[in-house]
Symmetry: D2
Subunit: 508 residues, 4 copies
Amino acid sequence: MEKRDSNASASAFHVPEWMIQFADQKQEFNKRPTKIGRRSLSRSISQSSTDSYSSAASYTDSSDDETSPRDKQQKNSKGSSDFCVKNIKQAEFGRREIEIAEQEMPALMALRKRAQGEKPLAGAKIVGCTHITAQTAVLMETLGALGAQCRWAACNIYSTLNEVAAALAESGFPVFAWKGESEDDFWWCIDRCVNVEGWQPNMILDDGGDLTHWIYKKYPNMFKKIKGIVEESVTGVHRLYQLSKAGKLCVPAMNVNDSVTKQKFDNLYCCRESILDGLKRTTDMMFGGKQVVVCGYGEVGKGCCAALKAMGSIVYVTEIDPICALQACMDGFRLVKLNEVIRQVDIVITCTGNKNVVTREHLDRMKNSCIVCNMGHSNTEIDVASLRTPELTWERVRSQVDHVIWPDGKRIVLLAEGRLLNLSCSTVPTFVLSITATTQALALIELYNAPEGRYKQDVYLLPKKMDEYVASLHLPTFDAHLTELTDEQAKYLGLNKNGPFKPNYYRY
Amino acid sequence: MEKRDSNASASAFHVPEWMIQFADQKQEFNKRPTKIGRRSLSRSISQSSTDSYSSAASYTDSSDDETSPRDKQQKNSKGSSDFCVKNIKQAEFGRREIEIAEQEMPALMALRKRAQGEKPLAGAKIVGCTHITAQTAVLMETLGALGAQCRWAACNIYSTLNEVAAALAESGFPVFAWKGESEDDFWWCIDRCVNVEGWQPNMILDDGGDLTHWIYKKYPNMFKKIKGIVEESVTGVHRLYQLSKAGKLCVPAMNVNDSVTKQKFDNLYCCRESILDGLKRTTDMMFGGKQVVVCGYGEVGKGCCAALKAMGSIVYVTEIDPICALQACMDGFRLVKLNEVIRQVDIVITCTGNKNVVTREHLDRMKNSCIVCNMGHSNTEIDVASLRTPELTWERVRSQVDHVIWPDGKRIVLLAEGRLLNLSCSTVPTFVLSITATTQALALIELYNAPEGRYKQDVYLLPKKMDEYVASLHLPTFDAHLTELTDEQAKYLGLNKNGPFKPNYYRY
Amino acid sequence: MEKRDSNASASAFHVPEWMIQFADQKQEFNKRPTKIGRRSLSRSISQSSTDSYSSAASYTDSSDDETSPRDKQQKNSKGSSDFCVKNIKQAEFGRREIEIAEQEMPALMALRKRAQGEKPLAGAKIVGCTHITAQTAVLMETLGALGAQCRWAACNIYSTLNEVAAALAESGFPVFAWKGESEDDFWWCIDRCVNVEGWQPNMILDDGGDLTHWIYKKYPNMFKKIKGIVEESVTGVHRLYQLSKAGKLCVPAMNVNDSVTKQKFDNLYCCRESILDGLKRTTDMMFGGKQVVVCGYGEVGKGCCAALKAMGSIVYVTEIDPICALQACMDGFRLVKLNEVIRQVDIVITCTGNKNVVTREHLDRMKNSCIVCNMGHSNTEIDVASLRTPELTWERVRSQVDHVIWPDGKRIVLLAEGRLLNLSCSTVPTFVLSITATTQALALIELYNAPEGRYKQDVYLLPKKMDEYVASLHLPTFDAHLTELTDEQAKYLGLNKNGPFKPNYYRY
Amino acid sequence: MEKRDSNASASAFHVPEWMIQFADQKQEFNKRPTKIGRRSLSRSISQSSTDSYSSAASYTDSSDDETSPRDKQQKNSKGSSDFCVKNIKQAEFGRREIEIAEQEMPALMALRKRAQGEKPLAGAKIVGCTHITAQTAVLMETLGALGAQCRWAACNIYSTLNEVAAALAESGFPVFAWKGESEDDFWWCIDRCVNVEGWQPNMILDDGGDLTHWIYKKYPNMFKKIKGIVEESVTGVHRLYQLSKAGKLCVPAMNVNDSVTKQKFDNLYCCRESILDGLKRTTDMMFGGKQVVVCGYGEVGKGCCAALKAMGSIVYVTEIDPICALQACMDGFRLVKLNEVIRQVDIVITCTGNKNVVTREHLDRMKNSCIVCNMGHSNTEIDVASLRTPELTWERVRSQVDHVIWPDGKRIVLLAEGRLLNLSCSTVPTFVLSITATTQALALIELYNAPEGRYKQDVYLLPKKMDEYVASLHLPTFDAHLTELTDEQAKYLGLNKNGPFKPNYYRY
């Protein structure tokens, strides 16, 4: 669910500061005692694993049950207790959620059908660490249908849907996850996935890199049997490129974050909708006539700008990259420096992947009632820390909405405390999750079945043909009819009729 | 000016049919006698060199002078006769045109200023073969100002502006080009550029590949001194990749056709405007409420669809590539097979780069008054040949507009006889030409100054940093203000403050 | 907040069926005993007064206090008990809400300032019946500042914000309203507003016509002193035109529902945003690529279509009026009959003001997961009653979201049980409420101060100049700078420099 | 073809300056000798009659024939000489043009069919004064088919298509018009239409008011038999309202200029396309990224703004009317005073209907290469006269394009010398002309057949039902399917199933 930095480079050739910090953390990590307290862990857990997360409402809601799942004895109806969830009794409700999700994930269901005969994942032992939602459940059960054995933990301490985890456990999946884990719980769950007698994973599906990290540090020998890693997030991908650069990556890894479909759908198309949704749900504002500055014109920025322009806002853009800047011009946006418009805008939206894009100085100059939010990256883009000073008053007016009040009475409206608006204040459509999940499944199949030598100990993008296949599986949703090349046309173009249809450098 | 195939792959890894034909032609070419007639040449000239071309009106227009320039004795005011143009006396008028173009090409003018001190092209001997227009003249005089010596021919037998050629000749540029060359003239001009005593080119700037081709065949030894080739067109780039694949490319070549700025501006942004312009100028039709099918959703198709949707047309899209198809869906277009809508649409537009996308069968089924045109590639997309049958009547109703009339009275409106609408029936904005020309200049500088070994005998894309530099030179046109990274931000992102800002695979 | 029928005529020259029903009800109404039970009233209360209503969350929420406000003894801090609200102690919280609303209603605040000196409502005794929200409070306190005395009841049994009512009562406004009134309470509150010793209203501000209706039936003599009625809703305006037509309207009435600003802002611009908001909040769906049919292309339909098209949906339109139909065509929408597309669409949205636009037959033919909602009028547009049959299963999946399940497993997703999506599932921006409230204030001032004879016993539209004034008061919100005519220009155009600027028939 | 003032009021209640001037002219007019020279007439001819006019290219072009048509003796093939055209021999070519136009005017053709049986214009003697084009010919022949006798003159001295006039004369229509009339010719032609023995008109179809004016002054007694006037232009309508106001209008008149379809199609939808077309044809500029200021946000301004925004321009708006100003805000345009942006914009477009909107002072401050053009009204909006001063140099660079050069070398690009860009530099789609012509035909039928007393000596708008009928006749062009009300729905809405569907004040 994380977003590819739009404005920033995710270049594999540089070592950004935060990665260096991360490297430092790992050193500290090694010194850690086995029984780790919350404090000592706080810097080594990935940022994404503690992001606030607004999942679909949990229908059965919080029981008053305060017992930690780790202290409970639970068994599913088949007698297995190889799992740890909040409450196995919620399984039925979770099953219904999964069934609804199945209806909206036709690509995975089609994959189940098409690939079921040959069981392309027969023998695969997949350990996974992702958000645990109904959509993930559909992915896991698809992997199972394709022949794989799976063990699963959550990649975020808040995002697990307990009912879904229960349903998976009831179906026999060893799931270790619940909503509201402590950081100690977090690592305990991951460890329970991998540290099990008589079972060793040969594939990793990771979201954020924490699982990969754990195995590297605790069970490096496991990599001897592991055929590959599939990683979805920007953060995890960065970590992998760093390992690769440092010569420490010992298995092939697939960067599915940068696949075309994920980039365009997760970022451009999804943000085009979620910026409107996030702003409306939090502020009920009217978009028409509002002046907005969007920092960064990558895919996320492009989506935000297009949506707001369409709703009648007047949009300014800031950029550091002259090519993206020129695109903004041609798309009809005034390209400015933030300082030029900061006094006049009604909304400030960051989508840069950078840090301190909005500084205290900017915040000081904003006009009364200005709304500030972050669509880009983690919680670094707005210097929220600078607002935690005695002369400013914070007033929580709604969930995820704070008024920060200056001594002269000026208020700015800060959303989600500067964390990602689209994760915190809107929901991600199942359709987008379906694309991501299908990509993950195909990447696992590719890595698992690749002939010896096709993939080295490096980070790869998904083969274009697979990217195209993911797209083709989603076309029926739109009742879309693809044209097929005639033999004559394929010959003329020098293409295989089944693709791939574009050179690797094609930009879409 | 040619357009990158949108739908088709320009893959370097396949050998399309037409390239193989081209290879055959070259063999035939070798057997040719020195004095070649029009007929024998007709297959070996590149397609683009005979495309019809709608340049800005020539103000001094056709003199009645029917003498071939090759038979004239002309000198410029400095006494030189090392050129061949229609009429050297038109120089003054051409100079005014060049001056107007200079005003609209601020990037090249800035380049002159910035690089003039160091003369980065000092010693360069550039032979060029491009359209000869006021904009090209600004490029040539910029190259001169940077230290280069230039000799130039036209890449298209129709596109030369005689006044501009005269002005260049008057200024001392050996130019060999006029409007309405025969094919024999065409090669004669090219030969005059390269086959000159005491001067040997060390750089090639080509558009279409004919110049490169000629040197390969006639003066292969010249390549010993040539530092590199810069090629702009799809066709020329294909030829280069083919040479490279065949191991016959003996100098580095720069593919500027696939640079980001060229792709996005020449295709997406330029076609967004030229589709409307081309249709209006030829048919005066109203766009609102019209049903349109656009074949191909590459950059060109995306531009056409966006423009027509914005003008109130109802747009259908056909595609062969599932990723582009999914983009069309998300952008709000019904994805269909051509057959599904062919009976109901008012306009058919091809942007595929493919052949026979619109067949006689499709044409038979179109409704009365349906407009058919090609925005994609050469003249292959619509099977125009199939309309040259006795039962159909052709009626020329305007320049570039034919009614083809069926026996039952049904008419379809065929534009530009199926050749490129945007070349034939609209003009290319100077701003776009400025981007292309600046890219060419930078590519020449890069190749000429690259340290030994940076470039091998292969085809390269322009380094991203140069692409970014071209963009940055054009931002002042829009009064656009770029943001600079702070040191802290650059460190955080692991980027150099001056770029490049994106990894090579970034899609924009 | 009600919306002007988009597709239907609100013609004053016809007597629609439901008005006749209403006339019948009034007869029955007369026979009613004084102490009326819920049942007997159920048909005489206006539709709008029981519409479900999603106001901003009440922050202090439901106390467990189950005592009816009518049975409580409450006094404000000044000792007055001439009010009836849920809990006077919530006044402070309500005051804060009012203060926040004041910041977003600059036009009313400007009106307070500009008109305060002259007190244009000095002597006015206004009885009002509207939604009681923070925005209404700003209106009431503005009326007070302009010199008026006010007494107020709620026009909807659900929509009162108790804290705001408390704050108004605390400030000395006799307010009779709480959230969750019974229908008996509803009339009791209205009666308490008008039936008071020593005070008789001379102005009416109504929303829905219930207050006017009550005075007509119970205190017809009051009209002798009443200078005019200002009515905001479609329903109330219909009632007034009917009275006028029947010769029974005995005071001038101002139809502010059809003022330009209200029409365009409440309908076109507001719905452009609320359709997206309503759909997202209820279903989390993705708009891109979805096929949608919008029934009715009036202002509401135009807003819905524009928004969905901008988000990448493919939109079809149905219409009965050929002019609106032609507009839909020119705006780029396929004009169809509902039957033509009902099997293929993902979403059905009604905006017609008509009844049974979506019938059971249509519902039977929709595809699985089709979403059905109403943006038009009351709850008549979708024949929801036809879905209450034994073979269909209803499943409430979220607040305002029902799955209706066919025997074969097909589900349709019905939003807000067919009532207004924008009232039930999204919020109305303060900016729109500000326009409406300002219009109401100006209409009251105009009617109250109009010289004898300017207005007869008829229904009037707001004078254009006032409409323009409302607009001008809202321009500063957008930092918009109006151009002034020079004397010469005004003379040339034959206009007064201060307006009105358009003839009455101008369509904007 | 003229456009309804967008920004200005066409109020019937004011007497603008130019109308007063016109009244003065009429006095002078009376004193004129019979044989009038060019000079003396120059102020009494309507502005629109001398507007430059870009009609579709005349295919047979200018013969060298310099003889005035008035001095020629011509007969058609039936022996009649009751006409005066350039060359009767061009009839065949004109007939083909008419036949092509018939294909694109299905509404008139449908009207011929539907109304032919009953001949609703039997007995009508219509004198007309309009542009004489193929489209007008289709109108005239439709009127003939409906039973009317017609005599016709041109309303503009430049706009007549000679071939079409010849074809009409050949078919027996007494037509008096040719391209390039002198002003004396202009009035002579009109006089030949009305001053004929044994024939007296009983209906007038006018465009600009010159014909009406002539009859008023020369043959006032004719009005005794005249049943009504149908007038299309803003200018003519103004004149009629002035007559009405002065109590001098002695027959009913129909203002078809303000019919809904004409307003929306001729202005909003047509200008949305013609602004792009006009700018491209004259300047070949690129729209993307350009800064544009549009003066006036009426229908014309709305169309221009929407089109340019869609093409990626950054658009500012100026307005005098706060309601239109607020619409501009909500549609996403910065509302400014011209002075605020005049230094930075690349294009200035006037659409106000006002005079001197762009003054010399503004022109002095524009930046180099700024393009200035008028989409609004006549030639008054830009103070072009102020540019005719010695220090400025004018350079004609293309047809309709002048560079005006300041002493410091700054150039502005003035299009069409400040006259209407869309008349001068683009063409009007047949579809729009079809709507206008159909409206005119229906207005004639309505006035001719109206029962005694339905229309007084006043100016009327077309009955809404007729407006709806015009629209419905054009729906088949778009394959658009109208929905019909059920009996139950019609009853519910209180509407007739056949319309009218909206109250008169409905704004669309």
